[in-house]
Symmetry: C2
Subunit: 334 residues, 2 copies
Amino acid sequence: MSGRTVTIAQVAKHAGVAVSTVSYVLSGKRTISADTRRRVLDSISALGYHPNAGARALASKRSNVIALVLPLRAGMHVPVLMRFASAVVTAARRFDHDVLLLTADEGPEGIRRVAASALVDALVLMDVELDDRRVPLLRELAEPSVLIGFPAEPAGLTCVDLDFAAAGARCVEHLAERGHEEIALLGAPSVVYDRGTGFATRTREGFARALDAHGLKGVTLPCEETFDEVYETVRDLLLDRPGLSGLVVHNEAAVSHVLAALRQLDRRVPHDVAVVAICPDDVAERAGPPLTSVLIPAEEVGREAVRLVMDKLEGRAVPESTLLTPLLAVRAST
Amino acid sequence: MSGRTVTIAQVAKHAGVAVSTVSYVLSGKRTISADTRRRVLDSISALGYHPNAGARALASKRSNVIALVLPLRAGMHVPVLMRFASAVVTAARRFDHDVLLLTADEGPEGIRRVAASALVDALVLMDVELDDRRVPLLRELAEPSVLIGFPAEPAGLTCVDLDFAAAGARCVEHLAERGHEEIALLGAPSVVYDRGTGFATRTREGFARALDAHGLKGVTLPCEETFDEVYETVRDLLLDRPGLSGLVVHNEAAVSHVLAALRQLDRRVPHDVAVVAICPDDVAERAGPPLTSVLIPAEEVGREAVRLVMDKLEGRAVPESTLLTPLLAVRAST
DNA sequence: GCCGGTCGTCGAAGCGCTTCGACACTCTCA
DNA sequence: TGAGAGTGTCGAAGCGCTTCGACGACCGGC
């Protein structure tokens, strides 16, 4: 509308009030008469006013931006990450905040930079590992932070994640209900276990514990991500354990290879082998046949992380640990 | 180190110079003696000074932040998107800029908001569609922008993308060299063509044109993403065209289904049917067998987009259209 | 009819930085 | 030796906003 950037002073003049009055209308921090408020709001939309973010941040010591820090290794998880990211942005907007995207390239120094420069008010870290070198930094930062995933020593931090142990257990339980007596978990590539990624380890533990609890036989195996390796793993597994009739797959990239391998080995799903996956819903639905799955609730995790970080910004107390209950959707594969 | 946020004034005092001198050391906009510069830099690191982003933005009218706008529909492309995003962040950091992540939820209004509030200096839009409702807004914005992908009417805009027409043609060429005489393109799901997504359409055109140029027979088909649908498509295709010996797959999610379907139909790759994919490298490598592919150079596209947007910020002229040459990597499938 | 208490509004003081003009030097060349 | 041209540094004026204290206007209670 007007000749380039509109300032609060122009709005004030247009509405015939003081600058501070406009500010109070916008923030609601003091009572303003209904009449004045209306005039101010009218002027704002007439002029197309948008408060200058820099000025606002400078004066209020709040940038209304949170940092979203990508994982150190891109790993396997890519589509899920994107949904986290998208959920975080959407949730943040609901609290009138924007999201700054940080990669691991810069390392912890990048986190320090955006925090110290007051570019962001708070941080959300995705896909935290057991031994994460970003974690020590977070402890000394004044800005609040929330981790998605759990480091080895989470005391004093705020962490949120799917309850992977419960997810592993839930799959076992489901197969036990269906009468299976010998089952296997195909997990992440072995390198993922080696570097101590929390979610992989915890799924395996939950799986193993539930196996005992239900008196089932079974194994857990790492699982690589090329077709040939998956094929060998599945073939050997079926050879070694003729009684095996159920499979839990916790590896998004391997899911379709596992199914293809079973087809090639002449095992019908679910008739000969029942398959449960732990993966995003769309992957499960797109598979042939559609898979019974425990979905990874990316949206919910992202939303929850933002809620927690906003609570911390407001000075409210939050739980150190938030575990989201896994939900199992039954489809054609069991 | 010191008691909370360090300001430029404290640095100036510590170094025994004026505030403006510190500023000039940092920006390099005026000559400063080597001696003074050293003292200032020492003070900066001694105090752990980080310039306040809000103050800087306010005074300089530059936030040093660019917006990265996610596509309107999450669609199929998720892993590629993440690599774009990551590449954009990394490239932006090289120009001393940060990246603000925007989703489509807010629609064009979100773009207007961050631009008008001076939160960002410039915009990069991912995965632009032929008829993209964000495009008209960009034309009236003062802030420079770069699109990844091409809208129907790109005049006056700055667009960058893989040259998909060339990619389609490159696949044909490769198969022609190998002596194939009848080939097919399995593309995106039909809904993607219906909504006029540029890259799908352009691949198809490039494919068709190259077919003529090399005197080959062939068809192009849309391709859904569940195993059963892919299986039917492939089965019918082989039935209809007994002479067919080459397949181009431009659909990341369908790649492994196509291979599984061929296996089930007893067609060996590459002996009976050669397969070329247009997809990210890791998908091609992970397939069984590893696929000859034209990779989607996500990193390069992201880097190029940032370079262009930085050029525009500096007032340098940039080409309206930047097409990146596709590179074909030969693997076991042809 | 006067006093204390809200309520609604205003003016001004920063927030931490960039940038402009000024100014004291030191060189260089006539 | 003095004018002219650089250098290197400083002080001060904003940038556009929030927030604090101040201050009329109006209320009810005695």
